[in-house]
């Protein structure tokens, strides 16, 4: 893995004057109105705001799942709008682990195979070693005993743990999650959140969209999004 981060220098994530306009509707709609944002390595950032405020749009800018209409997005020193769609996908596979609200495990692959898939796509680890690494990750999310089941046989919380293990498969420095607990009951959501906290402890940078007020209150840094703008940036105790 090339060193993406030089500690103490540039921020890991940097957005400047990011505008996103959708012109799919009758009239063009500006969902992000010139967002500036920097995230340092090791931060745990929560994006909160009302429905339709632009949280998903913003996190999609960071993961490169969508492109800004104008402005710059630089992740780990890479200006990602310069990457082709194809290069971007492979860059994302190594740099950002994505966790979805609806888990999105591939139903025909077993749990451990789902975790190995990003390694196959990005050619991380020697092919023979991939299963061991995947089992290791599953151990970490306490899913190793279910490794050879198909996703359909798991509960929602279990599926989301597997999805997190998959997001970590290529050991990316950043984890991006859009409402990862949105589909889970509060107890399960709590254990997923604890998993995230433990990852931050181990040095990962996490950006997470959440609706859950309790969880929002516990992140290190909460960004409030309203009408396509970041209106509040609250840092809380801990490691400032």
């Amino acid at each position: 893995m090339p060193a993406l981060v030089t500690p103490g220098s540039d921020p890991l994530i940097s957005l400047s004057s990011v505008v996103k306009t959708y012109d799919t509707g009758e009239v063009p709609f500006t969902a992000l109105k010139g967002v500036d944002l920097t995230v340092e390595p090791g931060e745990f950032v929560g994006l909160i705001g009302k429905s339709g405020s632009g949280k998903t749009t913003l996190i999609n800018m960071i993961t490169g799942i969508d492109r800004p209409s104008s402005g710059d997005v630089v992740i780990g020193g890479t200006p990602i709008q310069r990457l082709s769609e194809n290069r971007l996908a492979m860059w994302r596979g190594r740099t950002i682990g994505v966790v979805f609200q609806f888990f999105q495990l591939l139903p025909t692959l077993t749990v451990v195979e789902n975790v190995m898939l990003p390694m196959d796509f990005c050619d991380v680890h020697a092919p023979r070693e991939r299963e061991a690494f995947a089992l290791d990750l599953l151990e970490h999310v306490e899913m190793a005993d279910q490794a050879h089941k198909l996703p359909a046989a798991l509960s929602g919380g279990q599926q989301q743990r597997v999805a997190i293990a998959r997001a970590l498969a290529n050991d990316p420095p950043i984890l991006a999650a859009d409402e990862p607990t949105g589909n889970l009951d509060s107890g399960t959501a709590e254990s997923v959140f604890e998993l995230f906290e433990a990852l931050v402890e181990r040095g990962k940078t996490i950006v997470m969209v959440t609706h859950d007020g309790d969880i929002a209150a516990r992140v290190e840094r909460a960004l409030h999004v309203r009408d396509g703008e970041i209106v509040d940036d609250i840092r809380r105790g801990g490691r400032a």
Binding site: A89, P107, T108, L109, E113, F121, A153, A169
Partner: protein, 809 residues
């Protein structure tokens, strides 16, 4: 006027999902197309045959006799039961194309560039007044032909490049040559097409016949009987009576008689075979396109499931929703008809022209008959509606909750069937490959339909290969018979010692043997006769042929009235070893005992007898009518060269030659004739393959559409274009491979059935050979095609936008 929102939804569904609309429309259109080409083409053929054959006023019978004059024609015409009698003069002459009058002895290269060929010339006293077996001049050809002119039968174009205005040089019996100008073409539906006989047919006047030194008498008596209701046996009895009571008493010898089944065409059996194949193909095309439509329509409805739930949730009644979906499907059908109908009609008439040209059926309509168009339109509307009925029925009855909950990655569960578990146990595959393999089996119903289409297509292609192989094997098995290179037939019996000695004088000839061939009629139990037979007298120990005994034994030197029959005869007359048969030979009825059956040479029914016995029986005193010759060069060119030399040699010494034939070109002609059926099978295979390819592409497009979300996820976790491309191409490839396996398994019984079907259709025994090479070749073709068919869908897959793919809705 406002349009109800639900009808607006129908319109938007059509426009918004252009690829899906295109796919559904194409899969219906391909069915319409295939059915129209096959059934429409067949309809055009049937119509043109149905018009042109009766228009020719086909003869009830034709007697082939020694020369006669117009008094005999008048006398036969006045006989009871005869409506019309006409005479024709027929002769086979050799020609070369081009004006070679000034070339003294064509050098070898000249013979190769412009080889001598046979043409059957037919003359009628007045072509314009002919009322039986009519011939119709085409494209303004002069009719009757002028002096020094020949009008060729249209089928001549199948084997010869001769065109109006060309000249040919004809060899005359006295060794000189004469030019004939090709004046144009005429259609004679009762002529054997050149492709089948290997020889051209041309029409001239009696004057031209005389110019070509062919004598003056007529030698074919063409009859039309007044009783149109007679069956073949009845016609045969009537004709025998005319032969014995009217023809024979004035000293005219009847060599053989052609008595067709009344109202049937000489190629009727082959056409029947082709027609059955076409019907089978039409049914298959209908079934396959039905599969395609079921596939696409049920996928379409699966996609609509959630919207169905919403419509029901907001109060849509089942009948309203059903009407909406059926309208959508009917619109697809209408669009498909717009595409399929014109294309199908065009290719139907192309196909009819092609097939009609081979069979020489004459002028044909340019458009398929109305009923086939109605059929195609009905198929275009009904098949999709029927295909949609079941999924619509189940789909509209799904509860609102179930329909709305169809979220997440996949509503259909993977992992429960045996196949899924077996695939799940397949370890050690790279995950993308495992994904392709397991996704292949995710929608089992769709996979089954796709595979059914492809398996049928591949097995038909493989079987066509085996049919072709069997035909080649038949020709090679049959060729085992010929241990000689050239056969020369004489117009009259000639001294055996003379012709053998003279044949050996020709350069390249290494051996010669004379045979005695005489026409015979088999007296059947019901009083009718089979006049199309010959008895061949040959030395029992002949080394010039290798008889392949099927049952019984070959001839012995001590045999008297023993005969060996060939399989062609056994098949048509139902004879067996040990039976005694009555033959009318040389004016008298004789008893013969069948002692054996040999494999036929596909050259018609023959009795083989001990030459010395036959010679004594007909008093021919050691003369022969055919000499078989062995040469040192067994190639087609070598044999044809020697054949030419022999013809020249015998003609020069005043021996009238009725025909010479090199055996290799004989075998090649045979292969060509049977090859026509292979051509039809290939057309069939191509159409089915097209349906299969479109089916596979369609399935892959649906799979990709339904995998949109998965593709988005894969992109989100780092899959490159190439990785996603590979996932889907592998899936297509896997389906192709499975189709190949199924096709290979099915191809053996199918090949066997096809060969047996052809055998009964053409009435000659065929050897069976399964063509492994084609099966192996198909593996490569199927792999390539299935990979190619998934290229477009795979490309679409790699273009999926991640945001849209994983958006919640």
């Amino acid at each position: 006027m406002t349009i109800a929102p639900r009808w607006r939804k129908v319109a938007r569904d059509l426009l918004a999902h252009k690829l899906r609309t295109l796919l559904v429309v194409l899969s219906i259109a391909v069915g319409i197309f295939a059915i129209l080409v096959v059934m429409g083409g067949r309809g055009i053929l049937l119509d043109s045959f149905g018009t042109n054959f009766p228009k020719s006023d086909p003869a009830s019978a034709v007697l082939y006799t020694s020369p006669f004059g117009s008094e005999l024609v008048d006398r036969v015409g006045r006989s009871p039961g005869v409506a019309i009698a006409e005479g024709r003069q027929a002769a086979v002459v050799r020609y070369r194309s081009g004006d070679l009058l000034d070339v003294s002895e064509p050098p070898a290269q000249m013979t190769q560039a412009s080889p001598p060929r046979d043409i059957s010339l037919v003359a009628a006293t007045d072509w314009a007044a002919v009322q039986v077996d009519r011939v119709f001049a085409q494209g303004g050809a002069p009719w009757p032909p002028g002096r020094d002119e020949v009008v060729l039968e249209t089928s001549s174009q199948q084997i010869s490049p001769l065109a109006a205005g060309d000249v040919v040089t004809v060899d005359l019996p006295d060794g000189t040559r004469k030019l004939l100008r090709v004046a144009g073409f005429a259609h004679d539906i009762n002529a054997v097409p050149a492709m089948f006989s290997g020889r051209l047919v041309g029409y001239v006047t009696p004057q031209s016949m005389a110019d070509l030194q062919q004598g003056a008498g007529m030698n074919e008596l063409v009859l039309s009987l007044s009783d149109a209701h007679l069956d073949r046996a009845g016609v045969s009895r009537a004709v025998s009576k005319i032969r014995d009571d009217v023809v024979a008493p004035v000293g005219i010898v009847t060599y053989s008689a052609y008595v067709p089944t009344p109202g049937s065409h000489q190629l009727g059996d082959i056409f029947k075979a082709v027609s059955i194949l076409l019907l089978a193909l039409g049914a298959m095309a209908l079934g396959l396109s039905g599969f395609l439509v079921v596939n696409t329509v049920s996928a379409l409805l699966a996609q609509q499931m959630k919207q169905l739930g919403i419509m029901k949730a907001v109060g849509g009644r089942v009948s309203q929703i059903t009407a909406m979906l059926l309208t959508l499907v009917a619109v697809y059908g209408g669009l498909a008809i717009l595409i399929g109908l014109p294309l199908g009609s065009y290719w139907a008439s192309w196909f009819a022209r092609f097939a009609g040209g081979l069979l020489d059926f004459g002028p044909a309509a340019a458009t398929p008959p109305l009923y086939t168009i109605v059929l195609a339109v009905a198929v275009g509307f009904l098949v999709p509606l029927i295909a949609a009925a079941f999924p619509i029925h189940t789909g509209t009855r799904v509860s609102v909750v179930n329909a709305l909950n169809a979220t997440g990655m996949d509503s259909q569960r993977f992992g429960h069937s045996l196949i899924d578990r077996a695939l799940g146990r397949l370890r050690g595959l790279p995950r993308p490959t495992a994904l392709s393999l397991r996704n292949t089996f995710r929608k089992k119903g769709r996979l089954a339909l796709t595979l059914a289409t492809l398996v049928l297509a591949t097995s038909v292609v493989m079987s066509v290969g085996s049919v072709r192989g069997s035909i080649l094997k038949t020709v090679s098995d049959v060729s085992q018979w010929w241990n000689y290179d050239v056969e020369v037939n004489f117009a009259q019996p000639e001294s055996a010692t003379l012709v053998q000695r003279e044949a050996l004088k020709v350069r390249g000839v290494t051996g010669a043997e004379g045979w005695l061939v005489t026409a015979a009629a088999l007296k059947r139990g019901d009083g009718s006769e089979n006049d199309q037979l010959s008895v061949v007298g040959l030395p029992p120990r002949t080394r010039f042929v290798t008889p392949a005994i099927v049952t019984g034994r070959w001839l012995r030197d001590t045999d008297s009235n023993a005969v060996v029959v060939n399989t062609d005869l056994v098949k048509s007359e139902n004879l067996s070893v040990g039976q005694t048969v009555k033959l009318h030979v040389h004016g008298a009825d004789r008893q013969f005992r069948i002692v054996g059956v040999v494999r036929g040479q596909l050259m018609g029914p023959v009795f083989f007898a001990n030459q010395s016995y036959l010679s004594a029986l007909i008093g021919s005193q050691g003369s022969v009518t055919r000499v078989l010759v062995r040469t040192d060069d067994h190639t087609i060119a070598g044999q044809d060269g020697t054949a030419d030399q022999l013809q020249r040699h015998f003609t020069d010494m005043g021996v009238a030659v009725a025909g010479v034939q090199g055996e290799a070109s004989n075998a090649a002609d045979l292969a060509n004739q049977l090859g026509i059926l292979v051509t039809f099978l290939i057309v069939m295979a191509v159409i089915l393959s097209a349906v299969g390819v479109i089916g596979l592409t369609g399935t892959m497009i649906i799979n990709v559409l339904e995998s949109t979300r998965e593709i988005g996820v894969m992109r989100a976790i780092g899959a490159s274009h190439a990785s996603i491309f590979k996932v889907f191409v592998t899936e297509g490839f896997t389906i192709g491979l499975l189709a190949w396996l199924g096709g290979a398994a099915l191809s053996w019984p199918m090949s066997y059935a096809l060969v047996r079907l052809l055998e009964s259709a053409v009435g000659i025994p065929l050897s069976f050979e399964f063509s492994w090479q084609v099966v192996v070749a198909c593996l490569f073709v199927v792999s390539a095609i299935s990979a190619a068919a998934s290229l477009l869908p795979a490309y679409n897959a790699s273009q999926v936008s991640v945001r849209d793919a994983i958006a919640y809705e």
